[in-house]
């Protein structure tokens, strides 16, 4: 077999298998063992079955074996032959993990799972099978939902007592002809022994050969009529087939039909290699039955080879479930598209700027056209951005498992609630928010929620609640982690900070005190849980969020709970900013940080000996950040009262930035400075202005962080 042909399809299979595993896990976590929904059980079964099918086609035997065991066990559960106990759920969750590891070995070259572990897990699964079941199930493979499963030979042992169902295919028309039935029949072969009994044909005027109007088959199978119908409905319109009583005589259609009995079909039918269900047009690609070895049962290997080609070429489409109307696109293509749209925005801005100089009366058509262009460009930009947007459920999906496992380990009772899963976030941000969010949730479980005993003593319900919430606010996405746990102790934090020699004062606001836990000195103290090896402390969390252009804040009430709010921009690529001038240079300040701008009166500027200046704004004294000093530029304006103060808020603190003047407000495309240069302190990126020049985007949080913390004087 040509392995080269198949490896192209490995990636698609891995992606789909990952989806199956994810949906299986979330269903297992959701399902209530005592009141299991039949549809959920079926869905879990189908997920395992789909993975098995694909892995069999690609020859991943270890995965096939494990999923086969899982499937067999779960089949019993969904048929009601076995109760769904928590231990079954646990084994399945463990199996899911092992499958993930097996896939990781194949996909990323990770360390292989030890065969001993796999064998042990299979044993655990088999234990459930050995328990007496209600009715022995024949080895016949259960009905699968996937439309193009590679067929495994079920070798339906001829259990004589199997009930017989009769299927009638017809009437035939342009969309569904008699030949198509063969493919379907072959697919049914794995469910039981099937043979054609009759073909009802009608003599066509002017043609010698009668055209079939109906084909009847008999199948001896353990599968119920309903399940058979379900399987068939994936490949045929239910209008084209029906089940009848074996004893029903063939109906006589109107125009003098000729009923042709086809008794000979049986032995021929045995010779056909079972084929995957395929479209009619692929029909002729298949092996001429005459060339197949005689009547011997075709061994698994040969079958799977014949079948591999087809199933590889059509990686299980229905496995995507309801997403039949979506296509897989590589992230690079999407990124390239977004870059191009970004370039278009810049060019459009340049045109708009250049056209300002034109007399709009004289060039009316041009102005109108440019205005239209601007609208179109904005719309295109929004559309392109939305391609990369994915719902937060992608992020929230993994947390039930995390919380469940951690809570069990720590012997706490915790319920996880999620809100706003449909809120969309840029794919790049989704990937980057997962680690920090995981850390925050683990913190909540570990240090936030108290033990059941402590909670009851405090008059709280024994079961703690952690809520994950996502929503839009302003031009941002807010992601919050709330818990009804112990809350943060302000005094304790201040004490610890003093112990570590950090400069703190009692007059710091609550926000500022809570923000202390983000400082590197704090994070590692009494960590019991294993966050080791990931290098993620609270300081890294804040840094990661800042690097995404976001912000994180903590609110808490002692004894009641804590809320951690993460604010993220909607997209990484475009930014709303205000351009400010310092000397001859223009800088962009992201709008999300700006609170207000004003020109201060001379009397509002006060200096503190040895520490710099502050500005009085409505009773508050804000530290003055003189940009031309920090950036080492020659300004046009030296006195703050002749320039402009831009009040920005970052890290829970307000700072007054002193600039020469405000230039304007723009939507800018963020260009990376670091791809060809390196990280610059105080600069988060660059952009290209309408005149083609580069303007640097200020990293407000960085700049503000440079201002000494000792300020915080009350008015």
């Amino acid at each position: 077999m040509d392995d080269l042909d198949l490896s192209e399809f490995h990636d698609v299979f891995f992606d789909e298998a990952a989806e199956h595993l994810a949906s299986m896990e979330s269903l297992l976590l959701e399902i209530d063992p005592d009141a299991a929904d039949e549809e959920q059980l079926n869905a879990i079964f189908r997920a395992a079955h789909s993975i098995k099918g694909g892995s069999a086609a690609f020859g991943f035997n270890d995965i096939t074996e494990l999923t086969h065991e899982m499937e067999t066990v779960f089949d019993r559960v969904r048929k009601g032959q076995m109760p769904l106990s928590p231990s079954v759920v646990d084994v399945f969750l463990a199996s899911g993990d092992m499958l993930k590891a097996m896939f990781a070995t194949r996909k990323d070259g990770a360390e292989s799972v030890s065969p001993a572990d796999v064998a042990a897990l299979c044993e655990r699964l088999r234990v459930f099978l050995d328990a007496p079941a209600a009715a022995p199930v024949a080895v016949a493979e259960p009905v699968a939902a996937a439309a193009a499963p590679p067929v495994e030979i079920a070798a339906p042992k001829a259990v004589e007592a199997l009930p017989v169902l009769e299927i009638v295919f017809g009437p035939f028309d342009k969309t569904f002809n008699a030949e198509a039935v063969d493919a379907m029949v072959d697919d049914l072969r794995r469910l039981g022994r099937i043979e054609e009994t009759t073909v009802v044909a009608q003599r066509q005027p002017g043609k010698r050969k009668p055209k079939p109007t109906e084909r009847r088959f008999r199948i001896a199978t353990a599968v119920s009529e309903a399940e058979l119908g379900e399987a068939l409905s994936f490949v045929a319109d239910p209008a084209h087939f029906r089940f009848v009583d074996a004893s029903t005589p063939i109906e006589q259609p109107d125009a003098a039909p000729v009923a042709v009995a086809v008794p000979v079909v049986a032995p021929e039918v045995e010779d056909f290699a079972p084929r995957a269900v395929i479209d009619e047009k692929d029909f002729c690609l298949f092996v001429d039955p005459a060339t197949l070895p005689g009547n011997e049962p075709v061994p698994d290997a040969a079958v799977s080879k014949v079948v591999e080609l087809k199933s590889a070429a059509k990686p299980v489409p229905a496995a995507a479930g309801a997403d039949a109307a979506s296509i897989r696109v590589s992230v690079q293509k999407v990124d390239a598209l977004i870059n191009l749209v970004g370039e278009l925005v810049i060019t459009e801005a340049m045109l708009a700027q250049a056209s300002l100089q034109l007399d709009s009366a004289l060039f009316e058509q041009l102005s109108k056209g440019l205005a239209q262009l601007q609208r179109n460009t904005r719309d295109l930009q929004e559309s392109a951005m939305s391609i990369r947007m994915m719902p937060m459920s992608f992020v929230f999906g993994r947390f039930p498992r995390v919380v469940r496992d951690l809570a069990t380990t720590l012997k706490k009772q915790i319920e996880l609630k999620t809100e706003g899963e449909a809120t969309e976030l840029d794919k790049g941000l989704i990937e980057r928010i997962i680690d920090p969010l995981t850390h925050l949730v683990r913190n909540s479980v570990d240090h936030g929620i108290e033990s059941p005993a402590a909670r009851e003593a405090a008059g709280k319900p024994a079961k703690g609640t952690i809520t994950l919430r996502a929503f839009h606010r302003g031009g941002n996405i807010m992601v919050e982690v709330l818990d009804d746990g112990a809350g943060l102790d302000r005094e304790k934090l201040l004490r610890k900070a003093r112990e570590r020699g950090m400069g703190v004062s009692d007059s710091m606001s609550d926000q500022e005190v809570f923000a202390l836990i983000f400082d590197a000195g704090f994070s590692t103290a009494e960590k019991v849980t294993d966050v080791s090896g990931r290098g993620v402390g609270m300081d890294v969390v804040r840094r990661n969020i800042r690097e995404m252009g976001g912000n994180v804040e903590i609110t808490s009430t002692l004894g009641v709970g804590t809320r951690i709010s993460i604010r993220l921009p909607l997209t990484l690529a475009i930014l709303d900013g205000m351009s400010v001038a310092v000397g001859t240079e223009v800088f962009i300040v992201p709008l999300t940080y700006i609170v207000e701008s004003l020109q201060p009166a001379e009397s509002d500027i006060k200096t503190i000996a040895g520490q710099g200046a502050v500005v009085q704004v409505r009773g508050e004294y804000l530290p003055l950040l003189t940009l031309h000093q920090v950036l080492n530029l020659t300004p046009k304006v030296v006195e703050p009262h002749r320039g402009i103060i831009v009040i920005v808020e970052a890290e829970g603190r307000k700072t007054a930035m002193f600039v020469d003047e405000l230039v304007g407000q723009h939507q800018v495309v963020i260009k990376s400075l670091e791809s060809n240069y390196r990280r610059v302190q105080g600069v988060s990126g660059a952009t290209i202005m309408g005149d083609g020049r580069v303007a640097l985007i200020l990293d407000v949080a960085d700049l503000v962080g440079a201002v000494p913390k000792e300020y915080g004087l009350a008015a």
């Binding site: 260009k671 791809s675 060809n676 240069y677 390196r678 990280r679 302190q681 660059a686």
Partner: protein, 171 residues
């Protein structure tokens, strides 16, 4: 790789390169003529308005917009103290593509592209120089009456003291 190892590889690479005919772009810095592998050169531009970067070393003039990409510009004349760093309509910027990054360097002028066969290149004498770490010199080429100092521009640009890239080692 340690410094010594990279030095050895560079030298041997330089020597092996000199065995085949290679094409070099030659340019002037002050009174001297230098040559760099033509394959590292992306394009040649005139010196345009540069956006300065705060607190950067003086030889890093800033960044420019190169058809949508932000590219840092280095003035070699300042860095290596060679000649007068003036900027007029004849000032040339060579845009390089090294280590998957795009960098521009200001030079006094670009001469031409020449092919040097192995026998036209000699190993550089190992004199220690303050202004120019001779580790980056892969050889001395002769063409007509000119002596060309051949540089491994990728190594030079990626070195830590150029302060251009984070963790500046050749990838």
């Amino acid at each position: 790789m340690s410094q010594t190892q990279t030095a050895v590889t560079a030298k041997s690479a330089g020597l092996s390169a000199s065995h085949q005919a290679s094409e070099f772009l030659t340019f002037r810095l002050g009174q001297e003529e230098y040559g760099i592998e033509i394959l590292k050169v992306q394009e040649i531009r005139c010196y345009e308005a540069v956006t300065a970067i705060a607190n950067a070393p003086d030889f890093i003039k800033g960044v420019v917009n190169l058809r949508g990409i932000i590219v840092p510009i280095v003035d070699m004349r300042i860095k290596f103290n060679l000649g007068q760093a003036s900027y007029d309509e004849f000032t040339v910027v060579i845009i390089l593509n090294v280590a998957s990054r795009v960098v521009g360097m200001v030079v006094d002028g670009v001469s031409d592209v020449i092919q040097l066969a192995g026998d036209q290149v000699r190993a550089a004498p190992d004199f220690s120089s303050n202004s120019f770490d001779t580790n980056y010199i892969t050889g001395l080429g002769t063409a007509d009456d000119r002596m060309l100092i051949l540089i491994d521009i990728e190594r030079l640009m990626c070195s830590p003291d150029m302060a251009l890239f984070d963790g500046g080692t050749v990838q």
